[in-house]
C-alpha cells in the first residue's frame, strides 16, 4: 500500500510534465493549476506515508530491470530497480513535496505571462519527479540515474530564460560542474559494484560488513561517492555553480537551491553514511567545514539579494556535510529539513521583493520595504532568525546540534581537529551577521530608489501564502517540544543515529568495539535472542555521550556568536555606529577578496577552461596536421620538385595519411623521370639491370 502510494507520488509529477509539455498550451491558464494541484495531492500523500512509517520500518519493493544471466567469473548479473521507504525517505518525501508545492503556488503569480509558461510548469513537474526518484530509491545506480535527471532538469530550469547570456552560462556551468562530481560518484559506484556485486544499499552494507570491500578501496569508494555530493550540494571546490544558478527564476532557486537538488548531496551522504570509513568521514568533515567557512566570508560582501542567499545556502550545506562528517548523523539530516523550510521561505521572500521591485535585485538600491511589504518582511525576518540561530526557532535547534557534534568530535579525536568547531562557530557568527545585514539593507532604512519604491506593493495571495506557511514552520514546536534541546523531540527519535559497517580498523577510535552489538540491536531479531538493551545503549553512547556533554557549552557559545553577529549587524546597518564602507576600505584586500568570491571563478575560467580550450585546439591542430598529414612536409617537398609538371594531385597526398602516400608519389616521380623516351637509354637500363641482378644473386 505504502509502496503504491509512493509510486503514485513519484509518477504524478511526471504525468504533470507529460500533459503540460504536449498539451499545456491548450489548457486554460496553460495548465498551471494542474501542476500545482498535483503537487498538493502529492504533499497530502507524502504526509500519509510519513505518518504510516515507523522509525524502524523499511518497506521495500524491487523490480528486475536488467538481467544478463549467469556471467562467467562473476555470477548472475541482475540489476534491480527498487523503492525503499524508511524514516529518511518518508521525511524527505514530505520536504520535497512541500517545497515543490510552495514553489508551484508561488509561481502562478511570479511567472505569470511568461512566454514559455507551460514549459516552465512542465519542467517543475519533471524536476520534482527526478528529485522524488532520488529520495525513494533503494540502490546507488537508480540514485545515479535520478541524480543525473535532476542535473538535466535543473539545467533546463536554470537556463529557462536562455535568451539571455547569463542563464545560458549559468545553466551550462551548473550541468558541467555537476557532471564533474558525478564522474566521481559513478567511479565510486563502480568500485562498490565491483567488490560487492550489488547496487542495493542494504546488500552493499551487508557485503562490506562481511569484509568484501575494505581498506583503501573502501575509503576511495566513500570519498568518490561523496564527490557526487560535492557537485550537487555545491561543496568546495565545486561550489561555484550555485551562486551563478541564481540566474534562474526565483521560485526555481527556492525549489532547487534551498530544499531539493542541493539537499540531494546531503541525502546521499546520509544514505551511504554506514559505509564511510574514518578517513572518508574526516575528508567529508573538512570539505564541509571549508565550504561553510569560505561561503560565509563571501556572503558578507555580496550585494545581490539572491547571491547573499545563495552563499548562505552553500554555507549551510557545508554545515550539514560537516555534521555528517563528524558523525552527527541526526543533526546533519535535521538541519537539512529545517533549513529546507526557512531557506525556501527566504528565497520566496526574495522573490516577492524582486517581484515588488520589478526585477531589481541589488540590495544597495532597496531599503525601507518593511512598510510596504508587511507580510514579506515578517516572514523574511522569521526565516532570517531561524537561519541565524536565534532561540525558539528550528534553526537554533539544528545548528546547535551540529555545533555540539563538532565539539564532541574534536574532543574525542583531539589535535588538529579543534579547528573544526572553531571555524564552525566563526561561520555561525558570520551567518547571523550577513543575514541581518541583508534584512537591514532591504527592509529598513530609507528607500534608495525612490522611483521604484513608489510602485512597490505587497505581493498577491498566492505568493504570500507559501511565505506564511514556510515561516511558521521555522518555529521549534514542529520539531521538538523543548526549545533548547532537539534530542528529546520526535525528530531525533524518528531518525536515530545509524552505526557504521566498516571494519574495525577503519573506524574512529571512539567507534571501535561496538559492531556486533549495534548491528544486532538494529535488527528486531536481536531482542528475541535476549541481548541486553542496556548494554547496547551503553555502547551506543560513546559519541552520544560526548555530544551530550558538549551540548550546553555549544549552546552557550552559539548563542554568543549569533548574538555578536546580530549585534554587529545592528551596529553597522541599523544604528550606523560604524561605516561599513570605511571598514571595507581599511581591509581592502580582504574585502575585495571576499567580494570577488575568493577568485574561484577567475581561477577556473582562466586556468581550467582556458587550458582545456587550448588543449582542444592543440588536439585539433594535431589531428589536422599531424595525424592527417604525417608527411605533408614530405608531400610539400615532392610538390616543389614536381611543380614543373604541374600534375601533382593534391588530393592524393592529402588522402593517404601515411608515409607510404608520399613515398609512393615520390618514387612514381623518380621512375617517371627515367622514362626519357630515348630508346638507347632504355637499353642501357636493361643492361644495367641485368648486371645488377648478376651482382645481387651471384653470391646466393
Amino acid at each position: 500500500m505504502l509502496i503504491s502510494i509512493s509510486l503514485l507520488i513519484l509518477f504524478l509529477p511526471l504525468l504533470s510534465f507529460l500533459i503540460l509539455i504536449f498539451f499545456g498550451k491548450k489548457l486554460p491558464r496553460q495548465g498551471d493549476w494542474l501542476g500545482t494541484a498535483i503537487l498538493i495531492i502529492c504533499l497530502g500523500l507524502a504526509f500519509y506515508v510519513l505518518l504510516n512509517t515507523g522509525a524502524s520500518d523499511k518497506f521495500n519493493a524491487i523490480y528486475n530491470w536488467i538481467d544478463l544471466k549467469d556471467a562467467p567469473g562473476f555470477g548472475p548479473v541482475k540489476i534491480n530497480l527498487g523503492i525503499l521507504i524508511d524514516n529518511l525517505s518518508a521525511i524527505m518525501l514530505v520536504v520535497v513535496c512541500l517545497i515543490s508545492a510552495a514553489a508551484h503556488l508561488f509561481s502562478t503569480k511570479y511567472m505569470e505571462g511568461d512566454a514559455k509558461y507551460n514549459r516552465y510548469y512542465a519542467y517543475l513537474g519533471i524536476f520534482t519527479f527526478s528529485m522524488l526518484g532520488i529520495v525513494l530509491t533503494d540502490n546507488l545506480l537508480m540514485m545515479y540515474i535520478f541524480w543525473e535527471l535532476v542535473g538535466l532538469t535543473s539545467y533546463l530550469l536554470i537556463g529557462f530564460w536562455y535568451e539571455n547570456p547569463g542563464p545560458q552560462y549559468a545553466s551550462k556551468k551548473a550541468f558541467i560542474v555537476n557532471r564533474i562530481g558525478d564522474v566521481g560518484f559513478f567511479t565510486g559506484i563502480m568500485i562498490v559494484y565491483v567488490f560487492t556485486k550489488s547496487f542495493t544499499f542494504s546488500e552493499i552494507f551487508a557485503a562490506i560488513e562481511a569484509g568484501q570491500l575494505t581498506g583503501g578501496w573502501l575509503t576511495a569508494a566513500g570519498i568518490l561517492i561523496f564527490c557526487g555530493a560535492i557537485g550537487k550540494s555545491a561543496q568546495f571546490p565545486l561550489h561555484v555553480w550555485l551562486p551563478d544558478a541564481m540566474e534562474g527564476p526565483t521560485p526555481v532557486s527556492a525549489l532547487i537551491h534551498a530544499a531539493t537538488m542541493v539537499a540531494a548531496g546531503v541525502y546521499l551522504v546520509t544514505r551511504t553514511f554506514p559505509m564511510m570509513s574514518a578517513s572518508a568521514l574526516t575528508f567529508i568533515a573538512y570539505i564541509g567545514l571549508i565550504t561553510a567557512f569560505i561561503s560565509a566570508t563571501i556572503a558578507i560582501t555580496q550585494n545581490d539579494i539572491k547571491k547573499v542567499l545563495a552563499y548562505s545556502t552553500v554555507s549551510q550545506l557545508g554545515f550539514m556535510i560537516m555534521a555528517l562528517g563528524v558523525g552527527a548523523y541526526t543533526a546533519g539530516f535535521f538541519h537539512l529539513v529545517t533549513h529546507a523550510a526557512f531557506k525556501a521561505c527566504l528565497f520566496l521572500g526574495a522573490g516577492s521583493v524582486i517581484y515588488g521591485m520589478h526585477h531589481e535585485q541589488d540590495i544597495r538600491n532597496m531599503g525601507g520595504l518593511k512598510k510596504k511589504m508587511r507580510i514579506t518582511y515578517l516572514t523574511f525576518l522569521m526565516a532570517t532568525m531561524a537561519l541565524s540561530g536565534v532561540p525558539l526557532t528550528s534553526g537554533f535547534l539544528s545548528k546547535d546540534s551540529i555545533l555540539a557534534g563538532t565539539m564532541a568530535f574534536a574532543g574525542l579525536t583531539g589535535g588538529f581537529n579543534y579547528i573544526i568547531p572553531i571555524l564552525a562557530f566563526l561561520s555561525a557568527g558570520m551567518t547571523a551577521f550577513y543575514m541581518f545585514r541583508l534584512v537591514f539593507l532591504t527592509f529598513h532604512g530609507e528607500p534608495k530608489n525612490k522611483e521604484k519604491f513608489d510602485h512597490v506593493k505587497e505581493s498577491p495571495l498566492p505568493m504570500t501564502i507559501p511565505l506564511i506557511v514556510l515561516s511558521v514552520l521555522s518555529f521549534f514546536v514542529f520539531f521538538s517540544y523543548n526549545p533548547i534541546d532537539a534530542n528529546i523531540g520526535w525528530f531525533a527519535k524518528y531518525v536515530p543515529a545509524v552505526q557504521t559497517v566498516v571494519p574495525e580498523a577503519q573506524r574512529f577510535d571512539f567507534q571501535k568495539g561496538t559492531t556486533e552489538h549495534i548491528v544486532n540491536a538494529e535488527s528486531p531479531a536481536s531482542e528475541t535472542h535476549g541481548e541486553n538493551p542496556a548494554a547496547v545503549e551503553e555502547n551506543h553512547s560513546a559519541f552520544t555521550e560526548a555530544v551530550h556533554h558538549a551540548h550546553y557549552p555549544a549552546m552557550g557559545l552559539s548563542l554568543f556568536v549569533a548574538g555578536m553577529g546580530i549585534l554587529l549587524a545592528f551596529a553597522f546597518y541599523k544604528w550606523k555606529k560604524f561605516s561599513a564602507d570605511a571598514v571595507a576600505e581599511k581591509i581592502k584586500p580582504l574585502y575585495t577578496f571576499s567580494l570577488n568570491k575568493w577568485y574561484f571563478d577567475e581561477f577556473y575560467e582562466g586556468v581550467i577552461v582556458k587550458g582545456l580550450l587550448m588543449l582542444t585546439q592543440a588536439f585539433r591542430w594535431f589531428d589536422n596536421k599531424v595525424v592527417d598529414g604525417v608527411v605533408n612536409g614530405a608531400a610539400y617537398v615532392t610538390e616543389r620538385s614536381s611543380s614543373g609538371t604541374g600534375k601533382f594531385d593534391n588530393s592524393f597526398v592529402d588522402g593517404l595519411v601515411n608515409l607510404i602516400g608520399s613515398v609512393v608519389m615520390f618514387f612514381g616521380l623518380i621512375f617517371r623521370k627515367i622514362q626519357t623516351g630515348r630508346i638507347q637509354t632504355y637499353l642501357a637500363y636493361v643492361l644495367f639491370g641485368i648486371i645488377l641482378f648478376y651482382f645481387i644473386f651471384r653470391t646466393m
Partner: protein
C-alpha cells in the same frame, strides 16, 4: 617411321595449321578484294573459329610432345590456346569497331594476317619445349607485332612506337639468343627435358648458368614487360593503334608467360615429376644452387611497384593502362614465385580473368576515344552521365583490375595471395596487397572523373550502336560472373597445370 611421326604430329597440330592456312588465305584474298576491307577480317574470324574448334577437340588429349620433342600438346598449352584465340577474336571485333582503324586510309588486309601470325606465334610459344622452337615462335610473334605497332605509317606516334619496339625487341631477343647459346654450351642440348636431366645429373658452373638465365630473362621480361625490361611498354602502347595495344597487352603477354613458365618449370624444376613433400604440399624440386624463384620475386615486386607508382601520375588513358598492365604482370609473377602447381594455377586463373578485364578496359578506352576524341583522363569529366553503359562497364573493369570483391579481378588476386600465403610468402602477399591498394588510386581516379564530376559544356547523352553495347557487355558480364561463380574457371586452371607427365 619418320613420316609416321610427322603425320602423327600433324594430326595434333590442326589448330596451328589452320591458323597458318588462314594467314595465307588472307594474303591471297587480298589480291582480289582490294577495297573490301572487312572481308579479310571475316576470314580471320572464321580461321580463329575453326582453330578454336580444333583446339576444343584436343581437350582430353593426353600430354605428349610432337615433332621430335619440339612442341608439346598438353592441357597447359591448351589453356593458352583458348586464351589466345579468345583474345584474337575479340581484337578482330575491336578492330571492326574502332574508328581509328576504320578511318585510316590503309588497307587492313595484312593487318588481320599479322594478327593471326601473332596468335600463331603465341600458340607456339605456349607449346614449344625446345629452346630453338621457342626462340622462333617468339620472333614470329614479335615480328608481327613490330609491324602492327607501326601500322599507321603516316602517324609519327605510330612510327616512333614501331622503331622503339623493333630496336628494343631486337636487342632483347638477341640477348636471349646469346643466353640460349650459353645454355646450349653448358648442357649440350636445346631440349628442355634434356637440359633438366643434364642439370640434375651433372654439376655445372653456376655463374655461367646464372648469366645465361639473366640473359634469357631479358627476352622473357621484354615479352611480359617486367621491370627492368619494361621500358618499351608505355611508349609503344601509347603510340600504337588502340586494338594493337590491347592485343600486345593480352595475347603477347599471355604467350610470354606461357613460355616463361614452361621454360623455368621444365628446365629448372623437373616439372615432369611433381613430388609430394612431407608437408603434404605439392612442390616441384628445385635444382640445387639455383635460386631463381628469388630472382623472380625481386622482379615481381619491382614490376608491380613501379607499374603502380608511375601509373598514378598518368593522364593519358592508354599510358595509364600500359603501366597498369605492367603492374598486373607483377602480380602474376608473384604467383610464379611459389613454384607450385597451386601458384601456377593461380597465375593461369589470373591470366584468364585479366583477359576479360584488360581487354574490356581497352575496349572502353577505344569507345571513349571514338566518341569523345580524347585519351586524356582529365577530359573525361562527367561522361558517366552521358554514356552510362560505357562508363559503368569501365567501372567494372577498373574495379576488377584493382581487385575489389565480386569482380573477377578479386578472384584472380585472391588465388594468387592464397598461393603465396599457403607457401609462407606472407611478406610478398602483403607487398602485393599494399600495391593493390595503391593501384586503386589511379583506377578510382578514372571513375572519379567519369562520375563524381558533373559534365561541363556539352551534356547530351552519347549512345552507341547495339554492336558496341553487346561487345561491352560480353566483356563486362564475365568480369562480374567470374567474380561470383569462379569454380569452373579455377577448375580449368588447375587441370591445365598438369604440364606433361612425359619423359
Amino acid at each position: 617411321m619418320l613420316t609416321q611421326q610427322i603425320l602423327d604430329g600433324l594430326s595434333k597440330f590442326y589448330p596451328e595449321t589452320i591458323l597458318s592456312v588462314t594467314i595465307l588465305v588472307i594474303v591471297f584474298v587480298e589480291l582480289f578484294f582490294k577495297k573490301k576491307t572487312r572481308v579479310s577480317g571475316w576470314i580471320a574470324m572464321a580461321g580463329l573459329a575453326a582453330a578454336m574448334l580444333f583446339t576444343f577437340l584436343q581437350v582430353n588429349i593426353p600430354a605428349q610432345t610432337i615433332f621430335f620433342q619440339m612442341v608439346a600438346v598438353d592441357p597447359f598449352s591448351y589453356f593458352f590456346k583458348v586464351l589466345l584465340i579468345l583474345s584474337g577474336f575479340l581484337i578482330v571485333l575491336f578492330t571492326f569497331l574502332s574508328d581509328e582503324i576504320r578511318s585510316s586510309e590503309f588497307k587492313t588486309q595484312e593487318y588481320y594476317a599479322l594478327l593471326i601470325a601473332l596468335t600463331l606465334g603465341g600458340f607456339l610459344m605456349a607449346s614449344s619445349v625446345n629452346l630453338l622452337m621457342m626462340y622462333l615462335a617468339l620472333e614470329l610473334s614479335s615480328l608481327s607485332s613490330y609491324v602492327l605497332a607501326g601500322y599507321f605509317k603516316k602517324s609519327n606516334r605510330s612510327s616512333e612506337a614501331a622503331l622503339k619496339y623493333v630496336i628494343y625487341g631486337g636487342v632483347s631477343s638477341g640477348l636471349m639468343l646469346f643466353g640460349i647459346s650459353l645454355i646450349y654450351g653448358i648442357c649440350g642440348s636445346l631440349d628442355m627435358f634434356a637440359i633438366s636431366a643434364y642439370l640434375s645429373a651433372n654439376p655445372v658452373n653456376l655463374i655461367t648458368l646464372l648469366i645465361a638465365i639473366f640473359l634469357m630473362l631479358a627476352g622473357f621480361g621484354y615479352k611480359i614487360s617486367a621491370v627492368p625490361f619494361h621500358f618499351w611498354t608505355p611508349d609503344v602502347y601509347e603510340g600504337s593503334p588502340m586494338p594493337v595495344t590491347a592485343l600486345l597487352s593480352v595475347s603477347s603477354k599471355a604467350a610470354g608467360f606461357a613460355m616463361l613458365i614452361r621454360f623455368f618449370l621444365v628446365a629448372f624444376q623437373n616439372a615432369g615429376h611433381p613430388t609430394i613433400t612431407t608437408e603434404g604440399l605439392h612442390q616441384y624440386i628445385t635444382l640445387p644452387g639455383l635460386h631463381w624463384p628469388e630472382v623472380i620475386a625481386v622482379i615481381a615486386v619491382a614490376t608491380m611497384t613501379l607499374g603502380n607508382v608511375v601509373a598514378i601520375w598518368q593522364d593519358n588513358l592508354k599510358r595509364l593502362l600500359a603501366y597498369s598492365s605492367i603492374a598486373q604482370a607483377g602480380y602474376m609473377l608473384l604467383a610464379f614465385v611459389v613454384v607450385s602447381p597451386q601458384g601456377i594455377s593461380a597465375m593461369l586463373t589470373y591470366l584468364a580473368v585479366y583477359l576479360f578485364m584488360n581487354l574490356g578496359a581497352f575496349f572502353a578506352a577505344i569507345l571513349i576515344s571514338n566518341k569523345y576524341k580524347t585519351e586524356n583522363i582529365e577530359e573525361m569529366k562527367g561522361i558517366g552521365y552521358r554514356s552510362p553503359l560505357l562508363c559503368v562497364s569501365m567501372a567494372v573493369f577498373m574495379l576488377s583490375l584493382s581487385g575489389i570483391p565480386m569482380t573477377a579481378g578479386f578472384i584472380g588476386k585472391f588465388y594468387i595471395f592464397s598461393a603465396l600465403i599457403n607457401n609462407g610468402y606472407i611478406w610478398l602477399a602483403i607487398i602485393g596487397l599494399m600495391n593493390s591498394v595503391v593501384s586503386l588510386y589511379y583506377y578510382i581516379k578514372i571513375l572519379k572523373n567519369m562520375f563524381l564530376i558533373r559534365p561541363q559544356g556539352d551534356t547530351g547523352a552519347v549512345s552507341f550502336g547495339a554492336g558496341y553495347s553487346v561487345l561491352l557487355l560480353a566483356l563486362a558480364i564475365p568480369t562480374i560472373v567470374l567474380g561470383i561463380f569462379f569454380g569452373p574457371l579455377t577448375k580449368f586452371a588447375e587441370y591445365s597445370v598438369q604440364i606433361f607427365g612425359l619423359k
